[in-house]
Amino acid sequence: MTALVDTLPPVPLTKRWANVVRIHVANPWPTLVTPWLIFTAIFGLTYAIWRIVLMAAGPGGVDADAFQYNGGATWILFYMVVVAVQSMNQTFRFAMGFSSTRRDYYLGTAALFVGLSAFYAVGITVLAGVEDLTGGWGVGGEFFAPAFLADLPLAHVAYVYFATLLFMFFLGAAVGSVYVRWGATGMLVFWGAVAVLLVGTIWLVTSVEAWGSVGSFFTENSVPTIMTWSLTVSAVSALVGYALMRRATPRP
């Protein structure tokens, strides 16, 4: 007596994970294409504003660091949080209906998040390199590596983007998995708990007069070191998301 499944070779693990990744990019627009179009649009508008300011400033010009501070590239972080939440919600339920296991789905999706973080970190860093070579697009502007990033070597810029994107993806996955498990009630309790923890932490730090040490953590450590600390939080978020999704049910 043999089980029917034994007579047929199982689909290999790598193929199952690859399938999950392919499902995410079956329509490549939202994850691979649209972000670059948004970058093009925001950069185009920012560049136009720089030219307008230069025109208005006249022959005296502007301060050397006038175009070094802008948050034009930060939207990608919030965009990827939304991508991650949607992955745990809609795409999870789709994949479960298409014969995936929760484990294969989560691990394939995590691989996709790591891949997307690397893809965007490298892409943005290449543009930051062009920014350096062209003297800030000819106008001293810093869009892809603004503020403190402008002074870092390109490898560090890439690392900062990579770690920050990972942080956003896995934070989104953890929050999304709370929603999938416990719905709107879960969200209320979760955000309530976050608020309590936040206020509690501020209370604690203030009562032991430790704000100085908190501040010095950020000033005395290099940016890559701080980013490495964020990887710990990302890893914890990833594990929380995995633990929650293993028992999730894809209800309509």
Partner: protein, 296 residues
């Protein structure tokens, strides 16, 4: 001896205080079309979610190919589950669904899928959320047939499909089944339409499995007698009555398990003897809960 493709042992699912499936025990053999019939809300969908490992059982076991389906890639990879409530990612168009299906199902037949898409007239480039209910169902039906999975489970696959499209579905399913035999479990409440397709019938009522029988046996298992009230009453005396209707001096009764000799005897007493359709039979056997609902 081969292991049944689908098995349940004491399978139970509770949502809080509500018991959606109660102590279901049955088996579905390899190669055949099995109908899972029952009223809306009787637990059909929950049972199918338990069988495919999408819901976790409160008690008992579900087995596919002799193994638990929960988080079991080997058995889920041989199973295609088509349901009306399938969720699609926001950005998905019909072509993306078919592309995903071609990766996921090892026996996917792209040529067959193209043929079915043309036959159901599904717009490949349209977003899933913009499809009509019937078109969404058609996409599910295309995936269900073209996946050629060893086990295909359809949960009310025809919602929104008109009568013509439903018959295209039945015809194409039977046609492909003839060439590529597999195990099909289909829930439906359009019993008369699918009656001729079914080899085996499971009927679930209020979460409990009430009928688990071969379709042919079931078809012969009940008979309707019609005639004068007194004659009908005399004949029905002491037998198991499924339904009883009377109008004026005439009466109609549906009885279980009449032998050929008994049917001849009824005929001899001037009663009309009519075989009962699967639908009438199941309505008769599940009407108890309807009466209780009305009374409460």
């Amino acid at each position: 001896m081969t292991i049944p493709v689908v098995e349940a042992h004491g399978l139970t699912k509770r949502f809080g205080a509500v018991e959606a499936v109660t102590d279901a025990t049955f088996a579905v053999a390899e190669h055949g079309i099995c109908g899972l019939l029952g009223r809306n809300g009787s637990g059909k969908t929950t049972l199918m979610h338990l069988l495919t490992g999408q819901e976790f059982a409160s008690a008992g076991d579900a087995m596919l190919f002799g193994q638990s389906p929960v988080e079991n890639a080997a058995v889920l990879g041989r199973t295609c589950f088509i349901k009306e409530t399938q969720i699609y990612p926001e950005s998905f168009r019909v072509k993306h669904v078919l592309r995903a299906a071609s990766w996921v199902y090892p026996h996917w037949d792209a040529a067959l899928a193209d043929e079915l898409v043309a036959e159901f007239d599904v717009p490949l480039g349209r977003r899933m959320k913009r499809l009509s209910r019937g078109q969404r169902s058609a996409v599910g039906v295309v995936v269900g047939i073209a996946s050629r999975a060893e086990l295909t489970i359809f949960d009310e696959p025809y919602a929104g499909l008109d009568a013509v499209a439903r018959h295209v579905f039945y015809d194409r399913l039977l046609q492909d089944y003839g060439v590529h035999p597999r195990t099909i479990l289909m829930s439906t409440h359009l019993i008369d339409e699918v009656a001729d397709l079914l080899d085996h019938v499971l009927v679930i009522d209020d979460g409990r499995l009430v009928i688990d029988a071969d379709a042919d046996e079931l078809r012969g298992s009940a008979t309707t007698l019609a005639g004068r009230h007194s004659a009908v009453q005399a004949f029905a005396e002491g037998r198991e009555v499924l339904t009883w209707d009377s109008l004026g001096g005439l009466a109609t009764v549906t009885l279980t398990g009449l032998s050929d000799a008994e049917k001849s005897a009824a005929h001899a007493e001037g009663l009309d003897v009519v075989p009962v359709s699967l639908q009438q039979l199941i309505v008769g056997r599940t009407r108890g809960t309807a009466r209780e609902e009305l009374a409460s």
